[in-house]
């Protein structure tokens, strides 16, 4: 009844210091009091046991996508990651994506993380 979803655009992919790929995402407008923000992350095929870590540039964990119930070789699906409002500054949030497996952390390829979007949701 109060569908206020906005699909947002993202840009500014850049490799930064530290493992992972940093993506800056921008809200198209100010949030209102009864709205929240989520990331939608679409994954391709990743190895069994591999995870995609998501954190802010300052290292605050936003979540770890840990696919389960995926047959080997299949794409891992799309996941929703809630974003605490306090990590959004000036309608922007930068997140670092890290492929984690066997104690190795690296930037995911474009085939492993196929898309990431920021969305406004009602609360």
């Amino acid at each position: 009844m109060f569908i206020l979803v906005e699909t947002l655009f993202y840009f500014a992919l850049a490799i930064q210091a530290g493992p992972g790929r940093v993506v800056e995402l921008v809200l198209p407008r100010d949030l209102s009091a009864n709205e929240g923000v989520v990331l939608e992350v679409k994954l391709g095929a990743i190895a069994s046991g591999a995870e995609i870590e998501i954190e802010t540039k300052t290292g605050r964990t936003l979540g770890v996508i840990s696919p389960h119930g995926i047959r080997a070789g299949n794409e891992a699906g799309t996941y929703v990651v809630p974003v605490p409002p306090e990590v959004i500054a000036n309608n922007r949030v930068s997140v670092r994506l890290i492929h984690s497996f066997q104690s190795r952390r690296r930037a995911p390829t474009n085939k492993e993380v196929k898309d990431i979007r920021l969305k406004i949701t009602p609360r």
């Binding site: 009864n34 709205e35 939608e40 069994s48 770890v64 070789g73 799309t78 929703v80 990651v81």
Partner: protein
């Protein structure tokens, strides 16, 4: 099943129970009118740490021990039950909850019969409040690392010799409808299914350790009695913030997964999960708890413990984990009911959802259930159980027909999240309030802690439905409802003492938009008057129709 109209009238009373995310765990559970259609259910699924939960664990251990010893040709054999999961479980689609409700419900009957405990119901593991494996789950047959499992799982050859002939025989007895579903799943032959047990990859022509659903006894669970807690990432996945976010969607299903309580709509519950969208609760706490218990991360690249792959029900913790997932579905359902919102699929979706066939269940007598539709196991009434309250119940808005103690006036109550009191107010009441020619017909009562020496700000402006960026307001603001002010020497205030203020809601249409729905969300905040000082946390808020 779907409810599309509100059961409330203007004079009905609606009380919200939105807990502060940071403090929900400490909120009292007593004295609340929990909505449950199952208050009189025969069985109760208790928190595993409660006396009822501990008693249930004893019966569970008896049943596991006995089921381990059953021959593999019997459907109630412990491992045979786990194969139901590998052959039929949905993940990443909207039948995730309902299929597991049926799986658990029938299996609960099995445990009841085999243990001899006629009152048995699965306890739930509320990992938000207890982010570690409950200690009792390391005792005897309640851990798959126990010696009782060794005769069957001490190595892959032993496991294969034990279970494969019986499974092959069962496979050959399957009917055409079951075969069609297995084909959809990608199991067009027994060997292809068995590859997921062994981890063999036909395309790579070699085994992949991380894909192996079989787990050796000593490696069947990563977490141990001395290392039973979650790591930071798993803790985050079960945190109040994540659970609250997962319970927030107001639609049973929406193609936009960010707005959907359930995962993706697919043609079949056996559709491969790969390209689908996972709801927050399935994709996050459900998945992460499964995987961490199996050792994803610490023991990459596997082989992992049972919980990580398709034979996860081999680990007895599976059913406590899924009991909590099922409980959260119940919490979400009651939240929806309290708000007068649909808690099932839309009328357009209902035939497809309700009619999905589940063909592999085994009942408490060890018989194949046969054709079961999703709607047949949708309700908890089918298995006649209810839940002892746990995390999330405080988020439910409870309806009550209680009459205000000062007269028969409507009262709407909210508690605070992130210092914003949120209330669901009937839109009709707001329209009447705006149209009221004399004064206000809606008045807020706001309780805030008394200022103290260390927090001496004593005047606060009340904002109603102000956008997030609005941090101050004057009397001309459409969101301004008034200023509450304390008087006197602040050092006399008792720690924790509260004061309640009545504030008429503003009569500004800008503050009340989107009145098209039955109920409208009203957010109330307070900010320091004059734009300076610290803001106390609102303790509670009530809106009365006067």
């Amino acid at each position: 099943m779907p409810k599309t109209t509100s059961p409330f009238t203007r004079r009905d009373f609606l009380k919200t129970g939105v807990a502060a995310a940071a403090g929900a765990a400490s909120l009292p559970l007593t004295g609340r009118a929990f909505i449950s259609p199952m208050q009189t259910a025969k069985y109760t699924r208790y928190n595993v740490m409660s006396p009822g939960g501990q008693k249930a664990l004893q019966s569970y251990a008896v049943a596991v021990d006995r089921m381990l010893k059953l021959p593999p040709t019997q459907p109630q054999n412990w491992f045979r039950n786990a194969f139901i999961h590998i052959m039929d479980c949905p993940h990443g689609n909207w039948w995730f909850y309902v299929w597991h409700r049926g799986f658990m419900g029938f299996f609960e009957e099995t445990v009841r019969n085999i243990s001899g405990d006629s009152s048995f119901a699965f306890p739930y593991w509320d990992w938000t409040r207890l982010p570690e494996i409950p200690t009792g789950m390391f005792d005897g047959p309640l851990t798959p690392t126990d010696l009782r499992f060794e005769p069957y799982t001490r190595n892959f050859s032993v496991f294969t010799s034990f279970i494969q002939p019986a499974m092959m025989s069962y496979w050959n007895s399957l009917n055409p409808a079951q075969r069609v579903q297995l084909n959809t799943r990608g199991y067009t032959s027994f060997d292809l299914m068995w590859n997921d047990i062994s981890g063999y990859s036909p395309s790579l022509k070699q085994g992949v350790s991380g894909n192996m659903a079989y787990a050796i006894t000593c490696g069947s669970r990563y977490l141990s009695r001395d290392n039973r807690g979650f790591d930071a990432r798993t803790n985050y996945a079960v945190s109040q913030f994540i659970i609250d976010s997962g319970l927030a969607p107001t639609q049973f299903y929406n193609p936009d997964v960010s707005l959907s309580f359930n995962s993706a709509k697919t043609p079949s519950h056996n559709s491969p999960a790969g390209a689908n969208s996972f709801s927050i609760l399935e994709g996050y706490p459900h998945n992460k708890v499964h995987n961490y218990i199996g050792g994803v991360g610490p023991i990459d690249p596997g082989p992992y413990g049972n919980m990580t792959n398709f034979l996860s029900p081999v680990d007895p913790i599976f059913f406590l984990h899924h009991s909590n997932m099922d409980r959260l579905w119940d919490v979400w359902t009651r939240k929806q009911q309290a708000r007068g919102l649909p808690w099932g699929p839309s009328p357009a979706d209902k035939p497809a959802y309700d009619g999905e066939l589940f063909l592999f269940y085994v009942n408490g007598r060890g018989e194949y259930v046969g054709t079961t539709r999703a709607i047949d196991v949708f309700s908890m009434q089918r298995f006649d159980y209810k839940y002892e309250p746990g995390y999330g119940d405080d988020l439910i808005e409870t309806t009550t027909s209680a009459v205000d103690d000062k007269g028969s006036k409507a009262r709407i109550r909210g508690v605070v999240r992130a210092n914003t009191a949120t209330l669901a107010v009937p839109s009709n009441s707001i329209r009447e309030h705006l149209a009221e020619p004399r004064g206000a017909s809606l008045v807020a009562e706001i309780s805030v802690p008394h200022p103290t020496d260390s927090s001496p700000t004593r005047e606060f402006d009340v904002l109603v439905n102000a956008p997030a960026g609005v941090t101050t307001a004057d009397v001309n603001s459409p969101y301004y409802a008034g200023t509450i002010a304390f008087f006197g020497n602040m050092s006399h205030a008792h720690p924790g003492a509260e004061a309640r203020f009545a504030v008429p809601l503003p009569k500004s249409p800008q503050a009340f938009q989107n009145l098209g729905a039955v109920n409208s969300t009203v957010n109330i905040r307070i900010v320091p008057a004059h734009g300076r000082g610290r803001t106390p946390i609102i303790k509670s808020a009530i809106v009365r129709s006067v």
